[in-house]
């Protein structure tokens, strides 16, 4: 069944979903793509962000997005601290490949278990005025539950992109994994630069977590479900490309939405990952990779 109205609705839903996908993948693009740190605990940090948004929302009625913004510095410090531990324990000894991976597995489980111990295993959601509302014009609808996270995601992308491209430290973060020595010759400390980059990566998880709990209910292990999706977007983007991550998220979101609407939702994940496979076959460096 095809109609223009259905197509427009599918495109809107796809763009909004894509923005959300990109937001949850942004931190991984920085850590995995730019810093070469395989942080498989990133979804767990996002869930931690969701629970903090839940806590502030249920206790004090704080808006989840406001909570996410407030907690970005806290998450930044957690990320910077986590990197320091990772560096001292593994990277400094050139031992990061396997043990580093195990370290982040451990971090993921610690976050999950800590959340289970504090909050239990029940599903958690937040309340906000824009959840459950929709703007409508004729047969076209824009759900604000998806639109608000989309706008926040775009703002977050713009901020991170500007920082990475317009500041010395931002450009240093992009360079650190490529040529450490050259960076040192420019007077920058690679360890501090990676610490800064990893802090930013985890900082985005505070806001991404807030966006996640606006869209779906969360429980401590729900992050595991999205590990594949998040890594797929980072790889499709071309590891390390911030605009690429946004484009890749939008491509996956639109593809899923169109397939779901016109061919059936059971095909949506297959098509999304089919796009990833095709991209890797014809452009192994990813859409925006060099």
């Amino acid at each position: 069944m095809f109609s223009v109205e259905l197509l427009v609705n599918a495109l809107i839903a796809g763009v909004l979903l894509g923005g959300f996908y990109a937001a949850v993948s942004l931190g991984l693009t920085v850590s995995f793509g730019q810093l070469n740190i395989v942080n498989i605990a990133h979804p767990a940090f996002i869930i931690l962000g969701s629970y903090i948004a839940y806590m502030c929302n249920s206790l004090w009625g704080l808006d989840p997005i406001l909570t996410g913004i407030i907690f970005i510095p806290v998450f930044f410090l957690i990320g910077a601290g986590a990197y320091r531990l990772y560096y001292e324990s593994f990277e400094r000894k050139d031992d990061e490949a396997l043990r580093g991976l195990a370290f982040f597995f451990g971090v993921m489980f610690i976050i999950e278990v800590a959340l289970i111990m504090v909050y239990g295993v029940d599903f958690r959601t937040v309340q906000a005025s824009y959840i459950g509302q929709s703007w409508k014009a004729g047969g076209i609808g824009v759900p604000t539950r998806m639109f608000v996270p989309f706008c926040v995601a775009i703002a977050m992308f713009t901020a991170v992109y500007l920082y990475m491209s317009r500041t010395f430290n931002g450009r240093a973060i992009k360079a650190v994994a490529q040529d450490r020595l050259a960076l040192q010759l420019m007077g920058a400390d690679p360890v501090k630069i990676k610490q800064l980059g990893f802090g930013i990566s985890i900082g985005t998880a505070a806001l991404a977590g807030a966006l996640l709990i606006i869209i779906i209910p969360v429980e401590p292990s729900v992050g595991r479900l999205y590990i594949g999706q998040v890594f797929a977007i980072a790889v499709l983007a071309g590891l390390g490309s911030i605009p690429g991550t946004l484009v890749a998220g939008l491509i996956l979101g639109i593809a899923e939405s169109l397939v779901s609407t016109f061919f059936g939702p059971s095909w949506a994940p297959a098509v999304a990952f089919g796009i990833l496979l095709a991209a890797l076959a014809f452009r192994p460096q990813g859409l925006f990779g060099r």
Binding site: L6, N9, V118, D122, R124, S134, P143, T261
Partner: protein, 424 residues
């Protein structure tokens, strides 16, 4: 006599010993103090982490309440009851190993199932091979292929679970004037949801309804707006959904946002019975007709259920589980009541004798009188179809009141009338 090792352990030896100690420590931590001869051990796996942990932990608390009640009343066969359980992590692959360990290492006297279809089916070959009585907790049509005589399922799906599950949904809809003519079927691509939708499809065909949409979706779908838009484009009179908790929330939110226009919406949505989800959705639930198993309506005040709920709610405080415990918890208590009553009545721990007794008798439990059909399901269906009505806020107390989830089906337990249509 304490023996000391004469040999220095190799690194591999240390590893083996450490692993063995970790396993033993884990087992000790997860079980009550073992007392070999003066206890009756009941073993099971349970989803204490992972996607079904919310319900699994609630079920465990209910089972612990039963064990406390039973032991306070003198135990079974003059022995205290001990529950031995492991976390299956909501992973079916963990289940066979857990049951093998329960039977071969922990030497339990009885086993009962964990929670949910996906986690019951993997235990079936093991219990069948050993001829054990197997009370089961909320499996949908698990025994359909196995045909195991000692399987007894406590969820009141009825003797034909596939179709009995959604019978009430159709019964309510087809009683309207004019009756609906078209239906959309949508469900998660997972065991329970597929079975629920399969049963709904069979009945739709039998009733001559035109199926205008029939699709499944991946369980980790984050946004249901495209699916609801696609359904709306077909303009069905009925929308039957088979979904798990996160999807149910997504589906209700999307239906509200899109403004889904249909006459009856719901059916098999898991999660809408949970306190955390009901309070999250609040007034968005109004009008949805969905299955349920126990609600605080005056027609369902079975003997002992309120006393059980009071104990459960006290035990659940601060545990991060469903604070009300209306959905699964009374049944988690009841399936152990059935086993306990059968053991007491037969004065035996012989599985063949107990199985025969359960097949041929009925049991008074906190969920009412229970008897089983030859396939191990309830002899008569009691899947309730309830409609959310008059919900104006998101407060927990709202959902403890009669009248917010009105029973529409079966007739025997009916407590109100349907608000029809859902939206026009």
């Amino acid at each position: 006599m304490l023996m000391k090792s004469k040999h220095k352990l190799s690194r591999r030896g240390w590893l083996k010993r450490s692993l063995a100690m970790a396993i033993v420590a884990g087992a000790v931590a997860l079980t009550a103090p073992a007392q070999a001869n003066d206890t009756i051990k009941i073993g099971f796996s349970m989803a204490l982490t992972g996607g079904l942990a919310g319900a699994g932990k609630g079920a465990l608390i209910a089972m612990q309440v039963w064990a406390e009640d039973t032991n306070a009343a003198g135990g079974l066969l003059g022995k205290q009851v001990e529950l031995v359980y492991y976390d299956d992590q909501t992973n079916p692959a963990n289940v066979p190993g857990i049951y093998t360990k329960l039977l071969d290492v922990d030497d339990v006297d009885f086993v009962v199932s964990g929670y949910g279809t996906n986690l019951i089916a993997p235990a079936m070959p093991i219990v069948m091979q050993r001829g054990l009585v197997f009370p089961s907790l909320f499996g949908l049509a698990v025994n359909e292929k196995f045909n195991y005589p000692n399987y007894f399922q406590i969820m009141p799906a009825g003797p034909e679970p596939l179709t009995d599950w959604s019978k009430g949904f159709y019964s309510v809809a087809m009683a309207q004037d004019p009756p609906p003519k078209t239906i959309a079927l949508v469900g998660a691509d997972a065991e329970f949801a597929k079975n629920a939708v399969k049963g709904a499809r069979i009945q739709a065909e039998e009733l001559g309804l035109e199926i205008v949409y029939d699709e499944s979706y991946h369980p980790k779908t984050p946004d249901f707006t495209p699916i609801v838009n696609a359904i709306q484009a077909r303009n069905p009179d009925m929308v039957f959904v088979g979904s798990y908790p996160p999807d149910s929330v997504g589906m209700v939110k999307a239906a509200t946002e899109v403004g889904l226009k249909t006459k009856i919406f719901g059916g098999g949505m898991v999660g809408l019975q949970f306190a955390s989800i009901m309070t999250a959705l609040g007034p968005k639930l109004n009008g949805i007709v969905n299955y349920d198993f126990w609600v605080p309506e005056p027609t369902l005040k079975f003997e002992g259920v309120e006393a059980f709920l009071a104990k459960y709610q006290k035990a659940a405080e601060g545990q991060g589980v469903d604070p009300l415990g209306y959905y699964l918890q009374p049944y988690a208590y009841a399936y152990l009541q059935v086993l306990g009553q059968a053991i007491t009545a037969t004065n035996s721990a012989d599985h063949a004798v107990i199985g025969e007794y359960i097949r041929n008798n009925s049991f008074d439990t906190v969920v009412g009188n229970v008897s089983f059909a030859p396939n191990g399901e309830w002899a008569k269906t009691r899947v309730l179809m309830v409609q959310y009505q008059g919900i104006e806020d998101n407060e927990l107390a709202t959902f403890t009141k009669a009248g917010t989830r009105v029973v529409l089906y079966p007739e025997e337990w009916k407590s109100g009338t349907v608000n029809y249509p859902y939206a026009e």
